[in-house]
């Protein structure tokens, strides 16, 4: 337990140095505070955004909450499709071969390129953004699940069979736990992609008036550069925390191994 704590101390030093340089540059008027406000201003803006909100009454935490809600909705849709499909395709080489061309043709289309068609199909709003996020999460989860299942050491399956396991137990007691670390990595990558997709999707507009991407656009319309940066910082922080959360689950599973 001592080591991680030590690295924790030093991990944020470079970040602090960069913030310090930024702050000094702004204070010495090397850059104009109007287009590049210093971190101290952005920090104050974060508090203002939390308390007063932008537009007033629309607090930063509510923007983040709405964004998170969209991500989790897309996340749920993506997982409920990608996980079963991934396990089936990983288990059956035939299905995997049949799926391959479809997946590999659709996968290179970036989620952002889906925005126009998503708006045509679903309009502006929750359906559209959830669809885009689900797209972003779907492929990493699918591909990692397939390779996770295919990578299960066959000797585990043989061992389970000789101990009396039938198809059902092979899947629930061997295949799923053995593939889980890879699946989690896919989920982690997928969440990252989904989060990035979401903010871009929100830039095109939302109906509820909430969302971090939407807030940034509002700030731009108002010429509030500090609020743009504060929003960007919030997006980064939320994404970082989600990633840490999955990593934590992952390392718990790996510790058991």
């Amino acid at each position: 337990m001592e080591k991680p704590r030590k690295s924790f101390k030093f991990r944020f030093v470079p970040l602090l140095i960069i913030l310090l340089i930024w702050e000094l540059a702004a204070d010495l008027f090397l850059v104009s505070p109007a287009i590049f406000p210093p971190p101290s201003t952005v920090g104050k803006t974060v508090i203002e955004l939390l308390v007063r909100g932008l537009p007033p009454g629309h607090g930063l935490h509510l923007h983040a909450l709405f964004s998170l809600f969209r991500v989790f909705l897309g996340f749920a849709i993506a997982l409920s499709l990608a996980l079963p499909l991934g396990f089936i395709a990983g288990w059956s080489p035939k299905i995997n071969r049949a799926l391959n061309p479809i997946v590999n043709l659709i996968r290179p289309i970036p989620p952002l390129a889906w925005i126009p068609i998503a708006i045509v199909w679903f309009g502006i709003g929750l359906k559209s953004s959830s669809f885009l996020i689900a797209l972003g999460i779907f492929f990493p989860v699918l591909l990692n699940t397939i390779s996770g299942v295919r990578g299960v050491n066959p000797v585990f399956l043989d061992a389970a069979r000789t101990l009396g396991a039938g198809e059902f137990h092979l899947i629930t007691r061997v295949l799923i736990p053995a593939a889980l670390p890879m699946v989690l990595t896919g989920i982690r990558i997928g969440l990252g992609v989904g989060w990035m997709t979401l903010v871009a999707a929100e830039l095109t507009g939302v109906r509820s008036g909430y969302g971090l991407g939407f807030m940034i656009m509002t700030a731009r319309d108002l010429g509030r550069v500090d609020a743009i940066l504060a929003g960007m910082a919030a997006i980064g922080l939320v994404g970082y925390l989600m990633d840490r959360g999955i990593l934590l689950i992952e390392s718990n599973i790996h510790r058991e191994k």
């Binding site: 389970a160 069979r161 000789t162 101990l163 009396g164 396991a165 736990p177 889980l180 058991e256 191994k257």
Partner: protein, 255 residues
């Protein structure tokens, strides 16, 4: 209870349309309380033989009979111990051992009790909550044996189970296995390429030929347990088997 391998042959799809033969006409009978070892040059189809005996692989010709009934799928009545242990890395030691009982639907308190008893018997008490990779290889293989024993198989197949162990651990594992054999009296079919191990453990040593594997020699080891590794008789058996393996190797070289 007995396991009979009747005229077993196995071919694998080879390059082109020509199949590669792995085993040719193997006849073998295992009985409770008998320790049989198969020895042979590497690549002679020993693992294939065990997989067929376990029901994991279907023979191209011939039948596997457990008490007169043909086997077409694995059954917990026939246990298999793997060279690479094959412990489930996501389960702790206790849960690894419980696996077969869990599949059978035995309730947690009961299977925990049985698994603990096996841990005690295999000298692993206190390691219940460890995970496989935290244990030495010798201990891991003991866990694998305990996991196999949990379902009370009457036939235990062992595929070079001590091949990965250093020679001292190997010796102590051999003694440990003989103790289990004496207590439980299963039928054991053991595969190895180590002559000393074959003579020390078994009552019968079968010599397998090069691919396609055939039983070419049948050595009856008439020594009482515990066997003395350095005795004259022990060495006589070792020499006999060594000569057989040398002949096999040369016949390949001449071919």
């Amino acid at each position: 209870m007995s396991l009979v391998l009747e005229n077993i042959s196995k071919e694998y799809p080879g390059p082109g349309e020509i199949p590669t033969p792995a085993l040719a006409g193997i006849n073998l009978e295992l009985e409770n309380g008998r320790f049989t070892t198969v020895i042979g040059p590497s690549g002679c189809g020993k693992t294939t033989l065990l997989k067929i005996a376990a029901g994991l692989s279907r023979p191209t010709a011939g039948r596997v009979l457990l008490d007169g009934e043909e086997i077409s799928a694995p059954t917990p009545k026939i246990g298999l111990v793997f060279q690479e242990f094959a412990l489930f890395p996501w389960r702790n030691i206790l849960k690894n051992i419980e696996f077969g009982l869990e599949i059978q639907g035995i309730k947690p308190p009961e299977r925990r009790k049985q698994a603990r008893e096996l841990l005690r018997k295999t000298g692993l008490s206190g390691f219940e909550n460890h995970f496989p990779r935290q244990l030495s290889e010798g201990m891991q293989q003991r866990v694998a044996i305990a996991r196999t024993l949990a379902t009370h198989p009457r036939v235990i197949l062992m595929d070079e189970p001590f091949g990965a162990l250093d020679s001292q651990t190997r010796n102590s594992m051999q003694e440990f296995l003989l103790k289990l054999f004496r207590d439980e009296r299963p039928a054991i079919l053991f595969v190895t390429h180590n002559i000393d191990e074959a003579v020390f453990l078994s009552q019968t040593v079968l010599g397998l030929s090069q691919r396609p594997g055939k039983i070419k020699a049948d050595f009856s080891i008439e020594l009482d347990y515990p066997k003395e590794r350095t005795s004259t008789e022990f060495n006589r058996y070792r020499r006999e088997i060594l000569e057989f393996l040398d002949r096999e190797r040369k016949s390949i070289a001449d071919r």
